[in-house]
Amino acid sequence: MSGEAGPGTSGPEIDGPETAAPRTGNPRTADPKSGGLEIRGLEVRYGPVRALRGVHLAVPRGAVAAVLGANGAGKTTLLRAVSGTLRFHRGAITSGTVAFGGLRIDGVAAAAVVRRGVVQVPEGRRVFARMTVAENLRAGALGVPGRRAAAARERVLELFPVLAERAHQRAGLLSGGEQQMLAIGRALMAGPSLLLLDEPTLGLAPLMAARIADTVRQINAQGTSVLLVEQNAAMALALAERAYVLEVGEVALSGPAADLAASDEVRRRYLGVGMPETDRPVGTDLGPGHEGHERLERHERTRLARWTA
């Protein structure tokens, strides 16, 4: 498998911080004017804490990209940088650019970003606890003319029937999963052209997680591009064309989802597949594997370093 593909796409390629954005091997990211999301050399700090460094990432129009990474790797930070909500966490983009549809959106207020069609499902649900389910959905459609909103509402309710049943219950009283559904539904109300999903299946039952997966496929099919942060790597890699692996704030791996899914390191670390050194499948070139091990060590160290003084 490593043989036939061009050097660009062969195996999980490593975008070191110094090398420029995704190689031109992949036609869909070739043209920056593609109208998709373009992140270049992004660095983000929370006061003194550096959470992202030299991140290059692209989500072409109509594509689905996945971001994997351990806790604290910077996935949420990445989404915050796109949706312009860093300031709510005393964080800021210290260098690099974020562009959507060819227009810079770094430094643009969150609300403005939304009006450009970029909508985020925040980490940890964040439903409006004191408002009813129905009102939460209305809040989602604030930027949208009434007619479209009504239509969107239809879609969301058939997607998550429970929300219809609970329409007049206070969102804060919903179960964890129901809240998650509400959060996603609320985002869909706006009819986004780029959807940022931060761990959408968190706390969802398998069946429901599968449902979310289908939904993502659906809306993507309708032309919405998706940037998916997901701990459920299997699902993420199944959905995405291209995937990025963040480690301690840097893109450590990126490439076509399929290839990443195949890489033993990713399988071990993100799919949680236990695989003793002995029975590593033959034919996998040890290169990335070794790299992987080193990276693993380095990762472990820095990660501890991160939360020790």
Partner: protein, 298 residues
């Protein structure tokens, strides 16, 4: 009053895959007998305005076992936890733990019986350091009140030191030993979940309730957490009731599984059986197993 015992415990082991936590004898004077006890949930019903969250649910958690409580979203799992820990009052039914009836108790009284829990949405004090959050776990085991703390009576000081040591031990065990002096709010989600588990352990519980302990973790971290939970059971021999949507994990560590759907119990038994139960597949797993199912197979 108790520290002596556990300071004489096994020397602190470095954080390795198979961590061991020195078992700790029940302190003299704390409420509730000793060792794990049986938890019997009997016909518990919980109604909220207009909906029945739990409908005559019964199951039993054998002493020292890991019991999983699974079911679709909104099935009533967390509600069940809230009843067990005294946060919600059951409309009817009984919950017996050891000799005690829990349904009539307030949360802190339940805690006093040695029932500890973690929350589905992290419930730590973001401004306090990990150490302080864990020390809170010792609340039920310590005595210092306003007066003795205010006057810094020797008893209070000694207590603080002793339990501080134990807290460090447990933190080490839970793999957050390096984070002790960091405000929890600054830690990544996954680490916060560990801290929550550690806080629950700091209560030296006889029954541990875990609400989605690995939600929001990636495969590797899930496995670590699973190991952690197993070693808890091994080294402390306490009963663990677990809510989790990650079937892989459930299958791996659960001795028994109870499945809820719309507040009713639809299955109960050993994991393999339950996993094969068509009802469960229809209501929860989905016939194809679903993405997390995949993870289950591995």
């Amino acid at each position: 009053m108790d520290g002596m015992t556990h300071r004489r415990g096994v020397p602190r082991t470095p954080p390795t895959r198979r961590r061991r936590i020195p078992a700790r004898n029940q302190p003299v004077g704390t409420v509730g007998g000793d060792g794990p006890a049986e938890l019997v949930v009997g016909e518990v019903t919980v109604r909220f305005a207009g909906l029945t969250a739990l409908d005559a649910v019964s199951f039993t958690v054998a002493p020292g076992s890991v019991h999983a409580l699974i079911g679709p979203n909104g099935a009533g799992k967390s509600t069940c936890f809230n009843v067990l820990s005294g946060v919600y009052r059951a409309t009817s039914g009984s919950v017996r733990f050891g000799g005690a009836e829990l349904t009539s108790l307030r949360p802190h009284q339940v805690a006093a019986l040695g029932v500890a829990r973690t929350f589905q949405n992290i419930a730590l004090s973001p401004h306090l350091t990990v150490r302080d959050n864990l020390m809170l776990g010792r609340h039920r085991l310590t005595r210092a009140g306003f007066v003795s703390a205010g006057l810094r009576l020797p008893s209070a000081r000694r207590e603080a030191v002793r339990h501080g040591a134990r807290v460090a031990e447990i933190a080490e065990f839970a793999g957050v030993g390096d984070a002790l002096s960091i405000p929890v709010g600054l830690l990544p989600y996954g680490v916060q979940k560990r801290v929550e588990l550690a806080r629950a352990l700091c209560m030296e519980p006889r029954l541990l309730l875990l609400d989605e302990p690995v939600a929001g973790m990636n495969g590797g971290e899930r496995r670590e957490m699973a190991d952690l939970i197993e070693s808890v059971r091994e080294s402390l021999g306490i009963s663990i009731l677990l809510v989790e949507h990650d079937m892989g994990m459930v299958m791996r560590i659960a001795d028994a599984v109870t499945v809820l759907d719309f507040g009713r119990r639809i299955a109960d038994g050993p994991p393999e059986e339950v996993q094969r139960d068509p009802e469960v597949i229809r209501a929860y797993l989905g016939d194809f197993g679903g993405p997390s199912g995949e993870r289950g197979e591995a």
